[in-house]
């Protein structure tokens, strides 16, 4: 297995690191406190090509691969978890399905501006009764001549308020249950499409999490992505890729907190020596370093499989599970290394801790990742509990 990054991947990593250090880190505290969407830096990320990394140039993107995407997301997340999720949603949950399932006409209209970073996209699957149980869609998309009429509510949609385009899932045929789900691209400003609220959150506070409402919202049939009934397949395939991005976000959050913990362990003294000389502090740092490397390698493996066109779903679930758990543990311990100061906002590790929690929840909770992995371990039927 190739463990070295290519020259291009290394340069992309270096660029993302420098951009994160100089442009994102200085505003990370403020946007978290104010829960403010960072338009200024997201636009710049778009111009740099960070919002459509895996999309070919022909469709407005950068023409790089999933490995490049992963190393870039990690660098951004090291500075700010909110920026990382905005980036990951745009790349994985919007651009990826548009590229994979879109017709050329759809790509031209709905993909090019988003991959080029001039507009943002979001992915609207979750509903109040359809989270882990995403099949249980209540949103209806009723065919009417050359269009569909959407009615329903989507919940917890990242970038939902700021996005110009939403990839929305709804039932076109209730009788067929999840085989009756279809996917649509809905443009901001379409009559009957509105944002009813945004959530006040524990972490990733600068990424807006919105409720989207569809009331007799008419969507042209030409905006349906894939065939009728393909929606659930599109959603699940898309989230498989998204999990690689969230794994990278989790690795970045863990690594960002870890770097701070190491610096602090060198500086802070107790009982006459730097705290890094106490074995129990060393223990925490050694565990962090090991888990972060493991999470990073799992993430890179999933990305490499995806780039090679091989099945990567289970590898992505493992990467996301392990990286999310690592992020939670490493950010908790980074606070511990900081002692009381870690609990204080000024020292910033507490933000990594708050941001890390969501990585265990979205794009499939840690429990759902275990289901996916166990199903593979036991064989598809044996693992299905209900």
């Amino acid at each position: 297995m190739e463990l070295d990054l290519t020259d291009e991947q290394r340069m992309i990593q270096a660029m993302a690191r420098e951009f994160a250090e100089t442009a994102i880190r200085p505003i990370a505290v403020e946007i978290d406190r104010e829960a403010r969407f960072p338009h200024e830096t997201v636009k710049r990320m778009g111009a740099l090509g960070l919002m459509g990394i895996m999309v070919p140039e022909r469709w407005g993107g950068s023409g790089a691969d999933t490995v490049a995407y992963v190393v870039a997301v990690e660098e951004i997340a090291k500075a700010c978890g909110s920026h990382a999720v905005i980036m990951s949603v745009n790349n994985s949950l919007y651009c990826d399905p548009l590229l994979t399932y879109g017709t050329d006409a759809q790509r031209e209209r709905f993909l090019v501006p988003v991959a080029a970073g001039q507009a943002n996209g979001c992915f609207a699957l979750t509903e109040s009764q359809a989270g882990s149980d995403a099949r249980n869609q209540a949103t209806l998309a009723t065919r009417d001549g050359d269009s569909y009429v959407l009615n329903g509510k989507k919940q917890f949609i990242s970038t939902g308020r700021e996005a110009s385009f939403a990839l929305v899932f709804g039932q076109t045929d209730r009788a067929k249950a999840h085989h009756g789900i279809s996917a649509f691209v809905v443009e901001k400003g379409a009559p009957g499409f509105g944002v009813s609220k945004t959530e006040d959150k524990l972490g990733i506070r600068a990424s807006d999490t919105a409720e989207l409402v569809f009331e007799d919202c008419r969507v042209p049939a030409a905006s349906r992505l894939g065939e009728e009934g393909m929606g659930f397949t599109i959603a699940m395939g898309t989230i498989d890729g998204g999990r690689i991005g969230i794994a990278a976000q989790a690795v970045g959050l863990a690594a960002g907190a870890y770097e701070r913990a190491v610096a602090y362990a060198r500086e802070r003294k107790s009982f006459g020596v730097p705290i890094g000389q106490h074995q129990m502090v060393q223990w925490m740092l050694a565990d962090m370093a090991t888990a972060i490397d493991g999470a990073r390698l799992l993430t890179l493996r999933a990305a490499t499989l995806k780039d090679a066109g091989k099945p990567f779903g289970v590898a992505a679930a493992m990467a996301k599970l392990f990286a999310a758990e690592t992020a939670m543990k490493a950010t908790t311990d980074a606070i511990q290394v900081h002692g009381g100061y870690g609990y204080i906002r000024e020292y910033e590790v507490e933000r990594y801790f708050r941001d890390a929690k969501i990585t265990q929840i979205y794009e499939g909770t840690s429990q759902i990742q275990k289901l996916v992995i166990a199903r593979e371990v036991l064989g598809r039927t044996a693992g299905r509990s209900a």
Binding site: D7, E8, M11, I12, A14, M15, E18, F19, A47, L48, G49, L50, I53, E57, S62, G63, A64, A68
Partner: protein
């Protein structure tokens, strides 16, 4: 208009420099290499001139071993059109004059109208190559440039250099050489497209013989390198404020001789 930018690969600014085993060079193990920051201003300015004029070519040139390719590639990723790599063991111990001679030979071949450099490389901080180059070529040269404008027909450049308390403005007939100071511009980040496209751009390898240059003994010999002595610890003056201030003033006057 053809613009040539001379760049140098240097250790990252955050490097903890260690003296190497031979005591005459630094230990390069584990060093992260970057394009010298002042040279990045030069690259950025060259690209801006080209963009403003809507045409032209920006050629990056660097002298050094194989690892320098990485620095060259970042300049190509920023937007330089092609590059020349002066890469020959004959230049392993190149001093500033040898470097300037090699660069001058390339410049004669390439015949650019403008050459941009950084005001100095941040490794040894010599800041000599630009001036030596100007001397060898017989071209006008301005250092520490904060602003420049090339006139519409590309015959001259107005350059403002940092001087104490203000800017000193010169008109230089082209071809000329300018050395960039911090503040000239804000270098761009390479875009992903730029990075992905860099590999397709030409990097020409050039040896001393290709320029008609032979091995020359360096004019400058390094006798030895010494690490800086560790900084003595600071001193905290204890006691109540009036007494402490008195002691501080005394220490500044008598011990440090600072006031």
């Amino acid at each position: 208009m053809k613009i040539l930018v001379a760049i140098k690969q240097v250790p990252d600014t955050a490097t903890q420099v260690k003296v190497g085993a031979d005591g005459k060079a630094i230990d390069t193990a584990g060093i992260t290499w970057i394009v010298s920051p002042y040279d990045e201003y030069a690259v950025e300015e060259a690209l801006r001139i080209k963009e403003k004029r809507g045409q032209g070519e920006v050629v990056a040139v660097s002298l050094g071993p194989d690892r320098v390719k990485e620095a060259i590639r970042s300049c190509l990723a920023m937007g330089c059109d092609r590059a020349i790599h002066l890469n020959d063991p004959a230049w392993n111990d190149a001093d500033t004059l040898t470097t300037a001679k090699a660069l001058a030979a390339v410049i004669k071949q390439e015949a650019p109208q403008l050459v941009l450099c950084g005001r100095q490389a941040i490794d040894d901080d010599m800041g000599a190559v630009t001036a030596q180059l100007a001397e060898l070529l017989g071209w006008p040269c301005a250092y520490w440039i904060m602003e420049e404008t090339v006139d519409a027909d590309g015959k001259s450049v107005r350059a403002a250099r940092q001087a104490e308390g203000g800017l000193e403005v010169f008109d230089l007939p082209l071809p000329a050489i300018l050395a960039a100071q911090k503040g000239l511009n804000e270098p761009r980040y390479p875009t992903l497209k730029g990075i992905m496209g860099a590999k397709k751009k030409e990097i020409k390898d050039v040896k001393a013989g290709d320029l008609g240059l032979g091995a020359e003994p360096p004019q400058l010999a390094v006798i030895g390198l010494e690490a800086l002595p560790p900084r003595p610890p600071g001193r905290v003056i204890q006691g109540d404020v009036p007494a402490a201030v008195k002691e501080l003033v005394r220490a500044l006057r008598e011990d440090a001789k600072a006031i």
